[in-house]
């Protein structure tokens, strides 16, 4: 069976500093990997390599069996990314942002697709609102609609809950739960152990660029994940 997402020996150096150090994993379609780790552990760098916006120093990424080379463009149709930044233009409306990104992905049915995606994130009635006028929570929902616009098989989530109030977090969590449709492969990078564990099938703790520990989410409960996290981080040199 073809992996949804495969990382093999990923390394990224910045000058003399190794930000990601030999990360490898394989995820099947439908699986969600949550990556936890302290600040500076290299989580965002890992995600940027998986998204193809950063070239690995060594190692490779495969998306649905296809080599994800930074210079290659076609495999990017298979990947969507949600970041702690919205990746949207504040001066444009939600619909204009989605139209622009839709064009970049070569989509032709945007007149029907954009209203569908906005409806999925509960924002049908705000399509003509400029993004700068939205709250942080609404921006993240538009960002999710943008990431899913081209119906990617792999979704990468980089701290999507950052800056959200509890209600907005809960709404976004509901939206993210819908990603677990058995078809998509998802990688979630977060500091929030509780929210990560709720969604994850697999959990990894990244420390100093390495996956220091990996576990099945089903084997962990809320108290267990915190103890495991602290023990792993403290045990790392």
């Amino acid at each position: 069976m073809t992996c949804g997402l495969e990382a093999a020996g990923l390394v990224r150096d910045f000058g003399g500093v190794r930000a990601v150090d030999g990360v490898s994993f394989q995820l099947q379609p439908g699986e969600l990997l949550a990556v936890f780790g302290p600040n500076g552990a290299g989580k965002t760098t890992l995600l940027r390599m998986l998204a193809g916006v950063m070239r690995p120093t060594a190692g490779h990424v495969r998306v649905a069996g296809e080599a994800a080379d930074v210079a290659g463009r076609e495999w990017r149709h298979r990947v969507g990314i949600v970041s702690h930044q919205s990746l949207l233009y504040g001066q444009l409306t939600m619909a204009e942002n989605l139209f622009f990104y839709g064009r970049l992905f070569g989509l032709t049915d945007l007149k029907t697709r954009i209203p569908e995606r906005l409806a999925e994130v509960g924002l049908s009635d705000r399509a003509q609102t400029p993004v700068r006028d939205l709250s942080r929570g609404l921006k993240q929902r538009v960002a999710l609609a943008r990431a899913l616009l081209h119906d990617p098989e792999v979704v990468l989530l980089d701290e999507p809950y950052t800056g959200l109030d509890p209600h907005a977090s809960a709404v976004l969590r509901e939206q993210l739960t819908l990603l677990k449709d058995g078809r998509r492969t998802v990688v979630l990078v977060t500091h929030n152990l509780k929210q990560g564990l709720e969604l994850a099938d697999l959990v990894a703790i990244q420390v100093q660029g390495r996956f220091a520990s990996v576990a099945n989410a089903a084997d962990l409960d809320q108290a267990g994940v915190e103890a495991w996290y602290h023990a792993t981080v403290e045990a790392s040199p």
Binding site: V53, R55, Q85, L87, Y89, G90, L92, F100, F105, R146
Partner: protein
Amino acid sequence: MRTYIGLVWAVARKDLLVEFRTFERLTSMGAFVVLIGVLFYFSMNTAVVRPQDIAAALIWMTIIFVGMLGMGGTFRLEEQDGALTGILQSPIPLDALYLGKVLSNFILLSVMVALILVVFTAFFRLQFSGNPYALFGVLACGVLGFVSLTTLFSAMTARSSMGESLLPVLIFPLLFPVIRFGTTATDRLFAARPFEEVRGDLSLLAAFAIIFTFACAWLFRFVIEE
């Protein structure tokens, strides 16, 4: 090919949509053009210097300075809220992204060139009896050469701590052909010299514009990829 042009236009359309909604760059560039016109008007002794004789230099210096002001922030829009990451994650070829940026900058600077001609004609009562098509060609090729270079270098300096202050230092030496052939050709056209005397400069200007555009489109990937 149609798809590629569609991608170039999608980037340019987005930039123009933002600009014509906010007027951020157009306002600052337009105000700068008028200010330069006023400064030249009061600083020039028209009893000694005939503005008509130095029209080409006035026009081209203003194009360069106002272009530097406006084009330096080409990628500022993409730095807001990580939009550049969103674009880089999409399948758009990087040269199409670059050419889209060049196209939007070309349109914006062309609007400013029209304003420069109006302002300078009003202030200095410039007379033009040369070949208007040739003047259009000279200005269009010069502006294309200018924006192709500044767009590439603004991408380079966007993430530099020295940012836009570094841009003129890097770019002025490379702009020499544009300034040299642009001013010479414009000067001859304002002196109503025959087109044959301009053809050589215009050809060189066009060649530089095309070479700069293609070379910068190719180099852009090395600038923008991390």
